[in-house]
Assembly symmetry: D2
């Protein structure tokens, strides 16, 4: 079994992490924890103490592969360990609430993958638990990692500086295509009991968070359509990562949405449109967001994550235009620690930066963002989307 | 006063055009009529017989500028002329119905700018008149010129060939920014009594038509939000083109929408989203449409009108990707008459092609598309959008 | 036979044009002359008096198609006509000198297609003739039409304003692919006796002119490689446009270059690279130019001719980036006469603008640019390229 | 001091690495060695045994930061260590030969940063040493990391499959802009005694290697221009990374080229053009390469490193176009070990992949590519470029 990575210096206290889950998100979070202290100057040094999963052989292999010092098969044992300061929850949404609440109760900090939970009720319990834990000095954060890309962080800064002026429009899509094939198997991501919802909770949660984060304000209400294009799919055989599996002869019912479209109003009166789908043939990870304000506009595409498009509406028309900012300068968020200009980062770096920001928050006792309360609010938006879709798309206010 | 352009050959019968209106659309249509016979081999030769406008000096100047042989100040006089076979209506929407019905009754063919009318009722009367005129051999067409670009015509062909397979998604935006400045004056385009609606009828009508045309099917229902961001604007002084004017000290109420967002379902079950706005800072003419089907996807952007983006979903993943078809080949629609590959066309060519298609239809006695019945259906979509927006965005079926 | 287009107003004197040649360039120039007075306010009104070609039936058909009042089969007759003020030469390069010199001697203004001639000697004679004619009030211009696009004209203005600062690099390619197929026939464009050279004179002349025009300075010397990849091609049968033909069983020698690459120094010390080829599979009309200066950069691509890319190097790194200026604003060159923002122009508009600029020059008695002397200098660059290529690429100064 | 990362499994033999240098390249290589075993299934497990640098405190800090178990201040001590199987040389070019030859003589495998050396003579010695070491089972590789991006590796595969057919053109630029400011200090990269050459050896070496690698053939000769735009620069104070430094009042001579342009011929007769510069304002890392063959074309831009552009020239013209392959599929090179489609990689991943390929070569006793002999050939191209530039750009064959 692998040894944990050590603290860099004797004077720097460790932040000992225990992680639950070891699939796609587990690998990405591991890469984040393993790398962050090699790149950033941190007040505490992350240590990969223990990883947890139900299959003993698989979790041991994951520990070795990803560099975790120990492996557990029961998340209760993981959160009971003395050598764990922070629990990182990378499981499907149906187990988030139970694990997070118990971990906070056990005096651990918690990082929980998005969406925070599968229901508003679970999320509310978690937010309450986080609030109480904060009183005891324990922090909780939701893993909306797309806030942590240099380009999105720069966009947030530019909005906050007033470069867009009064906001008029936000339009966001998150387009993937891995369900286009009707023979794709019925993995856990397509079953309501595990995933809560389909593209809505998976992709929609990301774009709701990113839209509100960049806009610096919240949605007031939504009007929604959802659809399940393919209602029956082959059953998977054996282990499945959620995103791939071998199929069997049998079939089962898809119980989540394939696509969700919704429009909405921000509290300021700005209009928003959202689309999340897994059926956009040829679009692999097309999270695209554009914000139009009275003074300027910003646009971002996750498939070109090192770029931010910016239009300065205050320039003379003769020379104005959307500019492609290559977000790779030392002046850009997170980038003084990385490579020279033009040497771009990748998807996984969002997890390195997420770890960086959380380590700083923990070391400073500062409530990290997005908090569980933020996660609860997004859950309320998701619930309003589902309610509107059920009620003939009627405009549905977001509960406060 | 200018002479009309003559027929090219004695054997080719003329098609004598009379046009009502001489602002932006009048100039564009004039360019179309003047050029089409110089580029395409036509069965009849268009002749620019007479142009009509209320201001005697202005219409005479327009006639000279654009090459019309005569000028009229009363549209009733224009449609009464013996030397007019076809009436081309380029006025604001509030006068379409009266002129078109009268012109058809007078035995003229009619080309009417979009949207067909300001209300469903007017459009229904027009469609009925067109139906009756067709029995008398007279044709009526609506001027949805964006169908006539090589790239959109190619896209239509590719959808019709089955290259997209079962359609899943259509997403369309038409983004402009000329109202971003709150000091922009209250031209006729911002007044309901003339324009019928705002971005909805102006931009929304275009994208509804284009979406249905490319999809090859119709919308079944919509859910909509509309908004007027700036409700009071300076009054214009003197003549106004709709798109520009000098302003006075007084102000008036904007009585149309500034932006319209709607989602919908096609009759096949495919999902659609639409956005029309004049507040998207930096977007000048961003009519963007993407269609995703089970087997492929297409995307088009009017700001790059010589290009069509196509993803063939049946190719091996290792070599698949959205390809940029430079739609300038002789094999592409309309292009065997123009320049060598790579020598692109512009916006105005859509009017040349519109004229070409209409001349062929007239010569062959074939009902042109989009017909007034098609225009009526789009008016019903516009009405459903307005109804849904008034009724809290509730999903509103399109009347058949 | 068609009637000429008339002057718009009695008070506006005509400028009566006679054109020699009616193939690709003839069609493009006709479109320019026919349209310019419909769009721009001109001091003189172009009239399409007569067109000339050797084949009587073909030239009559071209006259009808393109709107010329008369047809001639001998260019000497054309330049002798009283109703011709300006001779527009659209023939292959081997006849430019003879026609232009005779036309100037006959007291006509002359517009001559590029390249000015097939040899430096011919060009020198033409430049001398132009100089003498200027003393008699007659003007001569070379048809480097790519200077007349709004985007390139804007680029020139921005360089002249000092936005690039000290120039360091100019890199230009002109990539086409119509010779990629070895079965493409041996048209006149592939025969030295008619075309003078291959991609060098056809494409290279364009990019030399554009590079020097945008840079605002001239090349001091070049080092060159040229190549003929396919040395034998099928002979064409019957008429050929230069760009297409039916082929016969026989073959003939290609006597011009297929591709030309050269590097060079501007007089200021800036470095330049050029590439002209007809073998760049998939590139249809990729004239791409980029200029890098100490303070900024500009880039243009003819396949997206309504756009100019600009980097302002004086901006803070955090917000700097290449911006895509959509060159469709009324503030942009030529565009106050055209459509609203975002409604792009096409290739042929360069000829409308060329006609506009020449009409103004004639009316004002101002020497137009590029002059025959400018055309001679470009011929000298072409000759230096050929000389360098023959002499093992040795750096070859441009004769002054 | 940090502990080394351990082997994953007892059965997997370690590959113990010692690295010389710890600046930009040292950090990048460390990231590669640290990560590769966490992502790929390797036959041997890399262990970060020792790092070497002249400054004792700095190298200790680098060891801690980057995860190396030990630190040395003398490279001779490093290569003498028993716990080092492979020496990774990340120093400036003037020390490559001495270290590499000694390391190979000491029975170590060697990875050497590019360019292989500062002169042909040094490179020849190194290639000879590598050849002899290969007889003793020790391997040597040059670090041309841009071969290891999924997109470039895919491009190589596609060329090798014959998708381009007969090659006609290769055009490559490597554009940066960090010397545009004349106040940028005189770091070691601007001094011939350390760097050998300027943009030529730094950027030019990369593009020569990539062009030859993708083309699958070698350059036969070149014709070149080089230039030093700013000949005197402020001296740096204290430590400098090569890419940044604090400046002093004094100045010194720049003794390397600022920019290098060259054209050339491949052995097959295909033409090539190259440009390397640090003065292309706004271009940060614009390594752009395009290959045109009779049957197709490929294009790549390092600023968008997850994409490859491909034109299939055998498709019907009506549907052909450059397609943007998002190189993030499990079917693409290196990517079955990484994230789901659309989740892009970054610059540093090239070093992870370089480590992966080298570990496999070592485990299999296979001669890795690019070999020192390949590096020597590139050195000969660089020398021919310099010779041509000195000799008035005359075409200069590459020595074999």
């Amino acid at each position: 079994m692998a040894q944990p990575q050590q603290s860099e210096g004797a004077e720097k206290p460790p932040l000992r992490v225990g992680m639950v889950g070891y699939a796609f998100m587990g690998a990405a979070h591991s890469q984040g924890w393993r790398t962050v202290g090699r790149v950033f100057d941190l007040p505490r040094q992350p240590v990969l103490s223990a990883i947890c999963g139900r299959d003993p052989a698989a979790v041991r292999a994951a520990a070795e592969r990803h560099g975790w010092a120990a492996a557990e098969t029961d998340w209760r044992a993981l959160i009971a360990r003395d050598d764990v300061d922070l629990v990182d929850i990378c499981t499907p949404g149906d187990s988030h609430a139970e694990i997070a609440v118990a971990a906070l109760a056990a005096g651990k900090h918690v990082l929980c993958e998005k969406p925070l939970a599968n229901t508003v009720e679970e999320a509310a319990v978690m937010a309450q638990a986080a609030e109480e834990a904060y009183g005891r000095g324990k922090l909780a954060m939701v893993g909306f990692n797309y806030r942590r890309l240099p380009a999105t962080a720069l966009a947030r800064n530019m909005v906050a500086e007033g470069r867009l002026g009064k906001l008029r429009h936000v339009r966001v899509t998150y387009l993937q295509d891995w369900l286009g094939d009707p023979e794709f198997p019925l993995t856990w991501r397509l079953r309501k009991e595990h995933a809560g919802s389909g593209s809505l909770g998976d992709l929609g949660a990301h774009i709701i968070d990113l839209a509100q984060y960049l806009a610096g304000e919240r949605l007031a209400g939504v009007s929604a359509l959802t659809e399940t294009f393919v209602r029956e799919r082959p059953l998977p055989v054996g282990a499945t990562s959620g995103l791939s599996a071998v199929t069997s002869a049998g079939t089962g019912q898809v119980t989540v949405d394939d696509a969700a479209l919704f429009t909405g109003r921000f509290t300021s009166g700005a209009l928003a449109s959202f689309e999340a789908t897994r059926y956009a043939t040829g679009r692999k990870n097309a999270l695209r967001i554009e914000l139009n304000g009275e003074r300027g506009s910003l646009a971002f595409d996750l498939e070109r994550l090192n770029e931010l498009s910016y239009h300065d509406g205050t320039e003379p028309a003769a020379h104005a235009g959307f500019r492609r900012i290559l977000v790779t300068e030392p002046d850009h968020p997170y980038l003084d620690a990385w490579w020279p200009p033009g040497h771009g980062l990748g998807y996984e770096h969002s997890f390195v930066h997420q770890a960086r920001d959380l380590v700083h928050a923990v070391a400073e006792g500062r409530r990290p963002e997005p908090s569980f309360t933020d996660g609860l609010q997004i859950q309320r938006v998701l619930a309003a989307v589902e309610e509107s879709a059920e009620k003939n798309s009627v405009y549905t206010p977001i509960a406060v």
